[in-house]
Amino acid sequence: MRRLAVWAATAVFALVVYLLLTMWTGTWGLWSLSELIAGAVMSCIVGAACGGLLWERGGWRMLMPHRWLLLVLYVGPLFVAMARANIDVAWRVITGNIRPGIVRFDPQLKTDLARTILANSITLTPGTLTVDVSEHSGAFYVHWINVTDDSPTPEQVCGGFPAWARRIAE
């Protein structure tokens, strides 16, 4: 039953991607009938083939729709942070003043997906780059281009992202 649910979720995910790819192919409406049938069949096959690998642990949390809404909302703060990051990098490229180092902090995230979201956000935002994530403790090792504190709190490094990640994926 549980495996079937995972397969179905994977198939739906694949179907969404397929439908996006084949938008406007129909002679009526957006999708033609043959596209829909073919997409459904292919999604089922893909779900059966790679469902075992996708969403291995705690993935069911993402089945809640409000998390997807949060993910979409998250784009806003992320974009602002990215803009800041780029101006920051531009400044550093021009002036060349850097004070790099690798720091450790523990954002207390448990699921893989949350850690992934946080790590990618960190990589995309000002002056930080995830170098390693501990498998056991969940601690992040971050290359920080402008070290102000040897053992910082998560907020110093990446602001409110851990909270966002927790809200989205835990």
Partner: protein, 112 residues
Amino acid sequence: MNALIYILLAVGALFNGLGALALLRFPDVYTRIHGATKCTTFGSIFSIVGVVVYGFSQGGGEGGTLAVHALLALFFLLLTNPTGSHALARGAYRGGIKPAQAVVDRLEKGKR
């Protein structure tokens, strides 16, 4: 509409250029990854959004397909780019490349 697309393209090119420049100017691998990843991703967002705006302004099946496919490309780019950089940084660190001019290196003490 045209002006908007011009601006988006210009900003995209600017940030991409910044990324390439960062690749050339920064002293070691990690800082280069910083520059390259952030700037090229950000610049690509602008460039591709320019194309998306163009596509939607064209309208119809053709323009819509262009926009949606470009958005998909952007989505995959956003998903893969930071992950690839993270993998490279991790690989470089485990491969024995120490960060240059580092003031602190917690990973060395932490776990190896």
